[in-house]
Amino acid sequence: MNDLTPIKRTIKDWESDQEVRWCPGCGDYAILKAVQRTMVDLGNDPAQTVFVSGIGCSSRFPYYMASYGFHTIHGRAPAFATGIKLANPELDIWLVTGDGDGMSIGGNHTMHLLRRNLDCQVMLFNNEIYGLTKGQFSPTSRVGTPSPSTPAGSVDAPALPCAFALGAGGRFIARAYDISKNLPDVLKAAKAHKGTAFVEIFQNCIVYNKDRFADFVEKGVADSHQLWLKNGEPMLFGKGTKGIALDVARLTLKVVDVVAKDDGTPDWQAAGVLVHDVANRTVAHMLVEMPFGAFPMALGVIYDDPRPTYEAELLGQDARVRAGKSANLAKLLAKGQTWTVAGEDQGPLAGV
């Protein structure tokens, strides 16, 4: 059994025997395929991988992966993941949640997961609607969303998942969408990050919120409305004709026009276009808050600046406390100020 040849797995090895029960045409299918593809590309071991989810359409995800999986209760997946990881830090943990599960009922747990920085990947499927409960507006729904519970349109200001995650202390923030060919690369970057990696994935709910993201996903508008961020590269979009620069006077971002140099390449330096630095937290805040419309949608790895993980800190401290101490239960029970009652039988512990 000492054959060291890596086992070559295929997508089939990551597909469970369960019939997938999402609506035909749901964006979740594309995400499922992208995740399975990512697992193959990463050479992951299904036995060492656990998908943990809460409740909602997206949270059915673990049933369709041929790894270990735990479909828990609404909003609480981060807490289960914390217990699993602390019990066995070797496991590779992927959380699947949605905008209702992760931002509404489970918002508290999402915040504390990010604050503690447990090593795991969080995939938040954002379709801006409650699907499984048949179409109510969600915490990410845009103002005015008509729904069974808001027939005249919702009035709540929507939450911004990436801004929330960054504000909670997240050290890896990324964005993608269901049918994007870049999704596996974003997921691989998330996996490469040690700590909580937060990935918001825009997902098309074709039944209750159809084509909500068409403004930047559709082929015709993709170039002009998607800003794919790459570390060390200028923030260009619109086939290099536009870029993101700093509006120093107002301490905010602005869209600038970029003209081509003689050789046809964009002269982004002249336009003052920013170079993406994944470790720049201040710019990350600006990028996740850019209002769509006036600005493109920031996608890809927005922020990536690791710090020690929670399990390394906690279990490391435990190990240091444990070092040199013996776990003698009999001694522990007899600890403190004791007294002996004399008799024929002194008891098994006399003199401990």
Partner: protein
């Protein structure tokens, strides 16, 4: 001890005397919550244990951390009952009350036995403190305490005098008052000061001046008793050591015993322990204690809320450790949905509920047994879950081991009920030998258990128990969750027949726990007859003493104390049907009584108390008496007059 009663005649301080020495004495220390009464009581408890007396204590402190000084709601008290016979309660009415200020006197004096001794710090009975305690006149001077023996002197001034050589500030010097008082108490009961002096030196190792000052105060209090200054009103008494089983003893609180029992249980199961907790009174003590036991393969996690605490513990159980969580009533309510998931996925878990007065925030620092319905029935769906209840601080150790055994052997969450009284109260404990407990090693599935390598996570053994499978095990990948599942495979399946079959299987598994637990015994008295007093949890002490006294009077009564609340012991129904009458004392409005009626169609009658205080022996004795009119052989029927020595609840006089 000869004292003067209200009528001016000589009388005994304590009626229960053995050869001129009292059999048992109840002392209550009361003062401002900043006066260090819990510490005084704790150290007096230790010296009592070292003197070989059996004892029971009842700490009673306000919900506020630092209530305004001198006020009625800022009073903190610690009661200890100790004696030369078996002690199972903190005692009914105190024989001695130490009152450090007017508020402490006002709140506690009503509980004192007629003729009992009051030791008061007259230095604190100034105008301002009297006003705060809502006294119109100084009770030390207006004769209103005539029915008790009063010993008032300026403890504050005497303490300042004693610690003067150490050059402490006035505030710091006055902090030594509790040691002065303790010194006097140690003299009164002929106790060795040395263990306390050693303790002070180790506590103030970094501040030798404080150690010396406290020792000086302690010695001064002791010397005060020894000299003639008290004027013969009080004399030293010696309480004989109780004959006890030979062996090594220590004092233990319920919170400590639960923590130790969980550690022992995890070792017996061969598992590492994961404890997920969230701060809540009075359950936090378990989190604090376990956090110091890392070398026993314990991981403690302070979660962001009660829900995350239990969910993380379930996650750890899923990953192959012993998941444990702990809380009190309101926190347990928040954990309900997650308990349902643990029942549904069939994962081991121990949930400790240190009950307190409810509903809602209720009485955070007071005791009650009102979470029994919540424990047995408090979840959505048909969600059977074993429940066991500890009867005393030392019983918590065995109960915690039992909870771990049931959880891991039956792949189920188990709730362990204690209450604020058990959690905080200390009692002597014959230190057990862990080697005498039979191990119950947990096993994990290592290879596929179905035909042709199929993994069947919900294939049940003859007891209806599924295998425990750790993620990370090669070849056994599978998915679990809260949705109803197919037989054996665990695949999503909520077809009608499957839900019926799985609901029945979950119920049968938990019902079957009764076959693997000991039959119900009779704690005291005949195994059939006129009256059974059936209790559970921390009412053990007062019920036991009341039944002991009633048996001594010739009444046909027995004490049955139930540990396994759910499922009930297999023989309990038959046992109860052997008695004509069943009385169920409990600190709620009659919850266990209802369970017994439901399960056995027996005429269980309730005796209830929800004052935030434990039952007194007299209350239960009086209730037993009504079945006999207090006369052996009598059929009962008329009321026995209420016992006038009953301890009133502190809340009744401190609204």
């Amino acid at each position: 001890m000869a004292t003067i009663d209200a009528e001016g005649g000589a009388r005994d301080l304590n009626p229960a005397q053995v050869g001129g020495q009292p059999e048992a004495v109840v002392v209550r220390f009361a003062g401002d919550s900043g006066d260090g009464m819990q510490l005084t009581g704790g150290q007096f408890t230790l010296s009592t244990a070292l003197a070989g007396n059996d004892l029971a204590t009842f700490p009673d402190f306000p919900a506020e951390i630092r209530a305004p000084q001198g006020t009625l709601f800022g009073v903190s008290a610690f009661q200890i009952n100790f004696g030369s016979t078996e002690i199972t309660t903190a005692g009914d009415a105190p024989d001695v009350l130490v009152a450090m200020n007017p508020a402490a006197l006002k709140v506690n004096v009503g509980a004192l036995k007629p003729g009992g001794l009051i030791i008061a710090d007259s230095g604190e009975f100034n105008k301002r403190n009297l006003e705060k305690a809502k006294y119109a006149a100084n009770p030390l001077e207006d004769g209103s305490l005539a029915k008790w023996t009063l010993l008032a002197f300026d403890i504050s001034a005497l303490t300042l005098l004693a610690v003067k050589p150490f050059g402490l500030g006035n505030k710091e010097a006055l902090r030594c008052k509790n040691m002065w008082t303790l010194g006097l108490a140690l003299w009164m009961f002929d106790r060795d000061r040395q263990p306390l002096i050693d303790w002070l030196h180790s506590k103030f190792a970094k501040h030798p001046v404080l150690a010396e000052a406290n020792v000086a105060a302690l010695n001064a209090g002791h010397a005060y008793g020894e000299t003639a200054e008290i004027g013969g009103q009080i004399r030293q008494q010696h309480v004989q050591p109780v004959p006890a089983a030979a062996g090594l003893y220590r004092t233990v609180t319920g919170a400590e015993a639960i923590s130790l029992g969980l550690v022992a249980g995890a070792q017996l199961a061969g598992l590492k322990m994961f404890f997920g907790g969230y701060p809540i009174t009075p359950a936090s003590a378990i989190l604090h204690y376990l956090a110091k036991l890392k070398e026993f393969d314990v991981t403690t996690f302070q979660a962001e809320d009660e829900i995350a605490a239990i969910c993380s513990a379930i996650g750890a159980s899923y990953a192959g450790q012993l998941g444990v969580t702990s809380s009190s009533g309101p926190g347990i309510a928040l954990k309900g949905e997650a308990m349902g998931l643990a029942v549904m996925t069939e994962l081991p878990l121990v949930i400790v509920n240190s009950q307190r007065g409810g509903p809602s925030t209720g009485l955070p620092t007071k005791t009650e047994q009102s979470d029994l319905y919540q424990a047995v029935y408090g979840r959505n769906g048909d969600t059977p879950m074993p429940v066991i209840a500890a009867r005393s601080a030392s019983d918590c150790f065995d109960c915690a081991i039992e909870a771990v055994r049931i959880a891991t052997q039956f792949m189920t969450p188990v709730m362990l009920l204690t209450d604020g009284y058990i959690a905080n109260a200390a009692e002597p404990w014959l230190v057990p030998d862990p080697a005498t407990y039979a191990p119950f090693p947990a096993s994990f599935l290592e290879e596929a258990n179905g035909a042709e390598g199929q993994v069947l996570p919900y294939k049940r053994d003859p007891q209806g128990v599924r295998p425990w499978i750790k993620p990370g095990t090669p070849g056994l990948m599978h998915r679990i969750g809260g949705i109803e599942k197919a037989i054996d495979t665990g695949d999503l399946d909520y077809s009608p027949g499957v839900h019926q079959a799985q609901t029945d299987a979950r119920k049968a598994k938990v019902d079957g726990v009764a076959k693997a637990t000991p039959p119900q015994d009779v704690a005291m008295g005949p195994t059939s007859g006129k009256l059974a007093v059936v209790g559970w949890g921390s009412t053990y002490g007062p019920i036991h003493q009341a039944v002991r006294r009633s048996l001594a009077r010739g009444l046909d009564v027995a004490h049955i104390h139930v540990r396994h609340i759910w499922p009930l012991p297999a023989n309990l129904g038959d046992l109860l049907k052997g008695y004509e009458k069943i009385l169920v004392p409990e600190m709620n409005t009659g919850q266990f009584k209802t369970v017994l009626r439901d399960q056995y169609l027996v005429d269980a009658q309730p005796l209830t108390k929800v004052s935030g205080q434990p039952f007194t022996i007299a209350e239960i004795e009086a209730a037993i008496g009504t079945y006999f009119d207090g006369v052996p052989g009598d059929a009962g029927g008329s009321e026995v007059p209420a016992d006038t020595t009953q301890l009133p609840s502190i809340e009744a006089i401190n609204p």
